[in-house]
């Protein structure tokens, strides 16, 4: 069994209440941080812990904190990004729903560190029932003196609010999130200035993912030294992985970074293997945006090393033979899955979610959806395959925010690894007109599939 910090007490009845959460040691980090540590000490501690942004980008959290403009005399803000919308990702929802106080505890310590007197949790509107759970927990925290004026008798005061979004993936991009929190369309901002200098209401702001903030109490409690003992190199600590698709046990798992992918998929402690006794064909291992990998490259790197769930090992081989750890949205496909159809759903998703600000993304995502739709439905041409590659290339790197890249990478990688499957769709239009075509007759040769 790997170490668990975030989900250690997830099955304890009543853990969503402050009373039970405290019985299990909850809010200890608030006491320790506010009474025995200076904000600068905490920044150093979080830097030393090697905690990296758990939303997907993996940027070092302590370093991000250190960019906050301290010379400004404007108020500072901490905003938690709970706009979890990356297909395949549902870990933040699980954590907030089951253990809301761990996020609140992290918000208090992080706000103290950053000198924020007001903090917001921006949660996607569809998670309205989770918002209610958070608000209830926040009320409890106010009543117990963990929020409000002079927390635990110190000089530090904090107000914490939950703000709902209203259905827009783009608001997970931090500057779009800030626009949305200001009551506007979620159009990402041009950077610089970065939020650390001019964020919410043009004030110095830090935006962090739910899981990143929820990991801070552990770092304070056990020390950074102990935290980064777990994991490998610059992939330290534990990570929540949301597993979905064709596996026996979909769900949210906390893993120690460094766990082999093969163990994650086949161990009964995690995914429990491929469902229905079928074989593994491919996986999108870090949320819909990351490159898809066929079974062989998923389990082993191109050099033949076991693929590990770390930022570095997942990326081994670059985009040619590797992928990214991303958000930890782990989508598994068995032999009956159609790579083209799955990709078409992703392309439709990105087209729907593009904010429309940059033409390469606005137009390109539409074209990719359209071309993929016709290939998948038996109306494609051979030249469509290279057309897709071309459109993806023209989006990548040419937009204000990473949504364009996120839309381009899945297309480029699917064609890189599964070009024959696209060609099959063009060659046999009558066969693919049945939406369940590969359930009737799996496409990939046995040799390329992996048995459990």
């Amino acid at each position: 069994m790997g170490k668990k910090f975030l989900l250690e007490h997830v099955n304890v009845p009543g853990i969503e209440t402050l009373k039970v959460y405290r019985e299990k040691g909850g809010y200890a980090s608030v006491e320790k941080a506010l009474k025995t540590m200076t904000p600068d000490q905490i920044v150093e501690e979080v830097k030393f812990s090697d905690l990296r942004g758990r939303g997907g980008a993996g940027f070092p959290t302590g370093l991000k904190w250190s960019f906050l403009d301290k010379k400004s005399d404007k108020p500072r803000y901490l905003v938690c990004n709970a706009d979890e919308s990356e297909p395949g990702t549902f870990k933040d929802r699980y954590l907030m729903e089951k253990i809301p106080h761990i996020l609140i505890e992290g918000m208090i310590v992080s706000s103290y560190t950053l000198g924020a007197k007001t903090a917001y949790i921006y949660i996607r509107g569809e998670y309205m029932y989770v918002l209610r759970i958070l608000e209830k927990a926040i009320d409890e925290a106010y009543a117990a003196g963990f929020l409000g004026k002079n927390i635990l008798g110190t000089d530090f005061s904090l107000d914490l609010y939950v703000q709902p979004g209203a259905g827009a993936y783009i608001c997970g991009e931090e500057t779009a999130l800030l626009e949305s929190l200001e009551g506007k369309r979620g159009n990402p901002r041009l950077k610089p200035p970065f939020p650390a200098v001019a964020g919410l209401y043009a004030c110095p702001t830090v935006v962090n993912n739910v899981e990143s903030i929820a990991s801070v109490p552990t770092i304070i409690n056990i020390t950074a030294d102990k935290y980064n003992d777990i994991g490998i190199g610059k992939s330290a600590g534990t990570k929540l992985i949301s597993a979905s698709g064709h596996i026996n046990k979909p769900g949210v798992y906390e893993i120690e970074l460094g766990l082999p992918v093969e163990e994650f998929i086949y161990s009964d402690e995690y995914c429990g293997g491929i469902w229905k006794g079928r074989k593994l064909k491919a996986a999108v291992a870090g949320g819909s945006s990351v490159p898809i990998l066929p079974a062989d490259l998923l389990l082993k790197t191109a050099k033949g090393q076991p693929r590990l769930m770390t930022y570095e090992s997942m990326a081994d081989g670059g985009f040619a033979t590797g992928t990214m750890l991303g958000s930890g949205g782990f989508i598994v496909m068995d032999e009956t899955a159609c790579i083209v159809r799955n990709l078409w759903t992703f392309a439709r998703f990105y087209h729907h979610e593009s904010c429309g600000q940059c033409s390469p993304c606005r137009e390109g995502t539409g074209w990719m959806e359209k071309v993929l739709h016709r290939i998948e439905h038996g109306h494609g041409k051979m030249s469509d395959i290279d057309l897709l590659v071309d459109v993806a290339k023209k989006i990548e790197g040419n937009t204000i925010c990473p949504l364009g890249d996120a839309a381009a990478w899945p297309v480029a990688s699917a064609i890189r690894h599964f070009r024959e499957e696209f060609e099959y769709h063009v060659k046999y239009p009558e066969k693919v007109k049945n939406p369940k075509h590969f359930e009737l007759e799996p496409f990939m040769s046995e040799a390329l599939l992996v048995n459990s």
Binding site: P75, P87, T118, S244, I331, A337
Partner: protein
């Protein structure tokens, strides 16, 4: 009909506005639009949006541009029960297409349409963050997960009997 929030909702709106610094009441726009949609029959008509603009002391266009950007705001009337079925990759892998097909058959409508009695609107949506419990649908604030055709039938019966308007705000 005069467009006006109930006193209870107005109190809530004033409480929400206090979450933001002085002069930043526009920040309340998204939560207030959710309240408006819930209070005024599940959609945002132009008079409703104008009313929200007046409450927040912003221009109507500032409301229209936001209401049209976010997918949870309905700019046209919808059925009493808005059934939103997730159809993105992970849900599709677990059979969301079959659920949509079943709903279309049972309700006698296509995706995007409303039943003639005004009871149900069927809408496919993109990833709702429920991939591990797919296939799933959202109706109001509630998630219904690990769906089967039988479960869908039971839900439809329940909603018909309850005959209540679905709302994200409950």
């Amino acid at each position: 009909m005069e467009v006006k929030f109930s006193n209870e909702t107005l109190a809530l709106v004033n409480k929400i506005i206090k979450r933001y610094p002085e002069g930043k009441q526009k920040s309340a726009l998204l939560p207030v639009l959710h309240l408006a949609q819930s209070e005024f029959d599940g959609w945002l008509s132009t008079p409703v949006m104008d009313y929200v603009a007046s409450i927040l002391s912003i221009k109507p266009i500032e409301v229209y541009e936001v209401a049209s950007f976010y997918s949870m705001y309905n700019l046209e009337p919808v059925g009493k029960c808005l059934i939103e079925v997730c159809q993105t990759g992970p849900c599709w892998l677990r059979g969301s297409d079959d659920i949509v097909e079943h709903l279309e058959k049972k309700l006698g409508i296509k995706n995007g349409e409303t039943t003639s009695d005004g009871m149900f609107t069927l809408k496919t949506v993109e990833c709702l963050g429920s991939c591990g419990t797919a296939p799933m649908l959202q109706c109001g604030a509630d998630y219904y997960e690990n769906l089967t055709n039988d479960k869908v039938d039971t839900l439809l019966d329940k909603w018909r009997t309850e005959n209540k308007r679905s709302s994200y705000m409950k």
